[in-house]
């Protein structure tokens, strides 16, 4: 019986191999083993969305993903999308509108928001609210977050229209 599995994943563009305890969820692995503390564990039962990150390009709950199940997969975290600049426009929009307070939900919210831009480029406020409805924020009233995402969508639509 294997309680620890050698696991190889492409983490923020870099291939890493570690022996990981089977029971370790992806957020704990990233935080404890890789020092990537940007993904937050807010509930560890898949409700709050603070641990939202990408596996093979799709957003998932990090706390409901076993790290060993990520063998051969591509993982992107808030650190990755920040360093690559992929999230820069969204982060700027969040900053401008104060779409965060304590910042604990923010990495998950940003991961969800940039996923929305990719999948629902024409979303209106109601659809934005629906898309981020799995990400809990206790500080803001969500209004500024919706504003920020909407601003990015509008800006992209304008650019799209010009090209």
């Amino acid at each position: 019986m294997d309680y620890e599995i050698e696991t190889t994943m492409t983490l923020n563009g870099t291939q890493v191999t570690r022996r990981i305890a089977a029971r370790t969820h992806l957020v704990d692995f990233l935080r404890e083993e890789m020092g990537l503390t940007g993904s937050h564990a807010g509930c560890e039962h898949g409700v709050c969305g603070a641990c939202t990150l990408r596996v093979n390009g799709d957003i998932v709950r990090g706390c409901l993903t076993l790290a060993v199940a990520c063998n051969g997969k591509t993982i992107d975290t808030i650190e990755g999308v920040s360093d690559s600049g992929e999230a820069a426009e969204m982060q700027h929009a969040f900053h401008e509108r104060n779409a965060l307070q304590c910042g604990f939900c923010t990495p998950g919210m940003i991961m969800c928001a940039i996923d929305l831009v990719k999948n629902k480029p024409a979303a209106k406020r109601e659809e934005i609210r629906e898309y981020i409805s799995g990400n809990y924020c206790r500080c803001t009233g969500y209004h500024a977050i919706v504003d920020a995402i909407e601003a990015v969508l509008i800006s992209k639509q304008r650019l799209g229209g010009k090209s």
Binding site: V47, C48, I78, C102
Partner: protein
């Protein structure tokens, strides 16, 4: 008045209020960044996942603790066998209450100014008896959290279950007493009577009475409580990384209960993932974690996971209230009569006590109105549920809901539009200073201006017309209003006078650095409200530098001036004023240096945009960096008898009033589906008066966040218990926090009535949203239900409760 008002007994006599402009007379008016929507500098790292929350810190030889908690609401610990847990892999120590008792002295959650409040001694781990489900009983320390949890599963306990008190009415009746030594279950009782309430009711043309109930809530900070205690036996020192709102208070408490000199204790709160009052109390598991670090002479970390947060973070707001209102036929409110019963769990929480929330309900009920007669009775009783204590907008949502609910009931009975009824009864804007029947004193509020503004931005008449038109089509919309008062920036009358080690004052240190930049250190802390950002704006404005030249540091007892931290919306009003005064003093000292360097009179100089200028010509004389360079590196070039002082500290504490009251009004538009009982919140409006608005961008979203938190209580949130005292929804799937989809867009606006008790003029802004939203929502729902002759009174307003009100189930 039959009894003194607890919170205002020690206020100083009224000092003459003088008009103090932002700048000293004769200097150039400069508002700089005050009132500007500047994005927060410290938000950028959070947006990139590069915050430093307590759980992000890494320490050598760190041990982690998991707590074995009572599975019963009330039970005797017959046997606690830790032997199997002790030999589990990775385990460092497993301890019970007796072991920890020797290291951490017990505490008692009472304060002398809450007359008669009682609570038993409380220990870090339960000894002999557990009194709520979730009370920590044993601590398991291991190399990893997973190992600690594995070993915890091996703790064997034998229990003798005892009768439980779950319902607050049973607690009051006292058939079963939780603490035998106290004789009954009453923690705190208060009565207040202006003396002629019965006479007012006797002559009233209109008397209305309602009973309301409020579910238990908890704060659900997304970042749970975390403490990392690092005791160093070599120097008998303690470093605590703690996501607390109040580092200096915790320093005091650690010093007292662990018998370590205060100066040997450093409490550090870096980034904190939300507070809302949850992180400002003494928690047994946190105290135990410190004790474990002392016992084991190594760093020990405790992270409250979400499930244990739900049964150990303070709860709040469980009330049953009966309220009566008397009015004359002209629509003047004559009197309120309040009876509030609240359940606080088995202990009054230390050091703030669990009596304050009910006390606030007594103080604040009827608060916006000009009636003269008021009677109130409060009982705060012990129950075998988790403890309750101060949570955002302490007592306000209860007071506002019962007040605004009964005000609407009176308006309806009298046939007066709710907006018009409020206009007739709100304290006039020119009637201040005003002493309210409960004894609290208002410096200056703006209920009428706020209401006028609200009705304007809502377009109230158009909404009413639309409502009437839609009703004919079977669409049932409701409009609700709620005026509120808001306790902010408290003086020492809140806690200090009762003996709590809680600072009402706060200090700020400002330093000019060599490069001409300004460093700000303040005792107020940041949990995301934007404290650091507004301190930067105030400092930049006061000194005359641009915002990019200011750095702010908070949350470290070893570095910042002594202060109370963040609670009761005191950051801007108290900390902000300290920063302002410190900034003015620093500016003056900088000008002294510049005058010496330039050999001119100081009055001819000013600092604008990082530059010393000649006020008479406007000519740029020196960059601030040059002042820094000379003061620090070339003091030899300054006059022999001159010493530059480029680090200054100033403190501030409100004294003229017990509280710096703020006020506001909210409007809610909802649509009720009478077939399903579902309620859609269509839009929400809020006009707040927090005095000087330092940063509208921050105030607006904090207000919205407060409103959403209030909506949570009104619509979704409740800690549910069964008859055995088991919490039924202690997880985030079943405890329903407000999420984005159901929340409305929220329109905000401001009236600014600066307080004259400070130069900055800022009042608090953090409670307003949470205080008024439940009342506005309830009134909107009941407005929608009016044609059905139905009414809801019990929060949260679940579809089932709406359907029951409609007689459909």
């Amino acid at each position: 008045m039959s009894q003194d008002i607890v919170n205002s007994t020690t206020t100083t006599p009224v000092a003459p209020v003088v008009d103090r402009p932002l700048q000293a007379p004769g200097t150039r008016p400069q508002t700089g960044y005050i009132g500007k929507s500047e994005p927060r500098a410290n938000a950028k790292r959070l947006l990139q996942g590069r915050g430093s929350y307590t759980d992000d810190l890494r320490f050598p030889r760190l041990a982690q603790v998991a707590y074995f908690r009572s599975p019963h609401a009330h039970a005797k610990i017959k046997k606690l066998d830790l032997s199997k847990a002790r030999v589990a892999p990775g385990v460092i120590a497993v301890v019970d209450g007796y072991a920890v008792r020797d290291i951490c002295s017990p505490w008692m959650g009472v304060l002398s100014h809450l007359k008669g409040i009682r609570s038993p001694l409380q220990f870090p781990l339960a000894i002999e008896r557990a009194r709520w489900q979730g009370e920590p009983v044993a601590a398991v320390v291991a190399e990893t959290r997973a190992q600690a949890e594995d070993a915890r599963d091996l703790v064997e306990a034998e229990w003798e279950e005892l009768p439980v008190v779950v319902d607050m009415r049973d607690a009051l009746a006292g058939q079963t007493v939780i603490h035998e030594e106290l004789g009954d279950n009453i923690c705190f009782h208060r009565e207040l009577d202006t003396g002629e309430v019965d006479a007012a009711f006797a002559k009233a043309d209109c008397v209305v009475e309602e009973s309301y109930s409020f579910g238990r809530h908890t704060g659900v900070c997304l970042e749970p409580r975390i403490i990392l205690a690092d005791y160093n036996a070599g120097e008998h020192s303690l470093t605590v990384h703690h996501n607390t709102q109040s580092p200096h208070m915790m320093q005091q408490l650690f010093a007292k209960h662990f018998d370590i000199p205060e100066a040997n204790i450093q409490v550090i709160a870096k980034d904190v993932g939300g507070g809302f009052g949850i992180k400002v109390h003494t928690y047994p598991d946190e105290m135990c974690t410190v004790a474990l670090s002392i016992m084991l002479r190594r760093p020990v970390k405790f992270v409250a996971d979400r499930m244990e947060s739900m049964v150990s973070d303070i709860h709040a707001r469980e009330h049953r209230v009966k309220i009566r209102l008397a009015a004359d036929k002209a629509g003047n409110i004559l009197a309120f009569d309040l009876d509030d019963l609240t359940a606080i769990g088995p202990y009054s929480v230390y050091p703030r006590t669990s009596g304050i929330e009910g006390n606030q309900v007594v103080n604040l009920t009827g608060g916006p109105y000009k009636h003269k007669q008021y009677r109130a009775k409060l009982d705060a009783v012990f129950t075998n549920k988790n403890v309750t204590c101060q949570y955002r907008a302490v007592g306000h949502p209860i007071a506002a809901a019962v007040t605004e609910g009964i005000v609407d009931a009176a308006a309806i009975k009298l046939g007066i539009d709710p907006a018009e009824f409020r206009r007739r009864n709100l304290i006039r804007d020119d009637a201040y200073p005003y002493t309210f029947p409960s004894g609290i004193r208002f410096e200056k509020l703006s209920h009428h201006k706020c209401l006028d503004k609200l009705l304007e931005i809502m377009d109230y008449p158009a909404l009413r017309a639309e409502q009437a038109a839609l009703r004919k089509k079977g669409i049932h919309r409701g409009i609700g209003l709620a005026s509120i008062i808001e306790v902010t920036s408290p003086s020492a009358a809140f806690y200090g006078v009762g003996g709590a080690p809680i600072s009402a004052q706060d200090g700020a240190t400002l330093r000019l650095d060599v490069s001409g930049m300004v460093t700000v250190l303040c005792g107020v802390t940041e949990q995301g409200q934007g404290t650091d950002a507004i301190f930067g704006q105030i400092a930049a404005t006061a000194v005359g530098v641009s915002l990019d030249k200011v750095r702010v540091l908070t949350g470290d007892t070893r570095v910042t001036p002594y202060g109370g931290g963040t609670w009761a919306s005191r950051g801007a009003g108290i900390g902000g004023e300290a920063v302002l005064q410190s900034g003015k003093a620093l500016k003056s000292n900088i000008l002294d240096v510049a005058a010496a360097m330039l050999n001119v009179k100081k009055v001819t100089l000013d600092i604008i945009d990082n530059t010393i200028i000649d006020t008479t010509t406007g000519e740029k004389k020196l960059p601030l960096a040059e002042v820094g360079r000379v003061a620090y590196f070339r003091p030899d070039t300054l006059p022999m008898n001159f010493q530059s002082e480029l680090t200054v500290t100033r403190h501030f504490v409100p004294r003229e009033y017990a509280f710096t009251f703020a006020n506001g009004v909210q409007g809610s538009l909802v649509e009720v589906d009478p077939d399903t009982g579902f309620i859609k919140m269509l839009k929400h409006w809020c006009v707040g008066d927090c005095g000087t608005v330092i940063n509208p961008l921050l105030v607006d979203e904090q207000t919205r966040g407060g409103i959403v938190q209030g909506i949570g209580g009104a619509m979704f949130e409740e800690c549910m218990y069964d008859e055995r005292g088991q919490m039924l929804n202690a997880n985030l799937a079943d405890y329903l926090v407000p999420m984005s989809f159901e929340m409305p867009d929220i329109v905000t606006a401001h009236i600014e009535t600066p307080t004259k008790t400070s130069e900055l003029g800022a009042k608090g802004a953090g409670e307003n949203g949470t205080a008024g939203a439940p009342a506005a929502i309830m009134n909107a729902i009941n407005d929608a239900l009016l044609p059905f002759n139905a009414k809801v009174r019990d929060m949260p307003f679940t579809p089932e409760r709406v359907l029951k009100a409609l007689g459909k189930v």
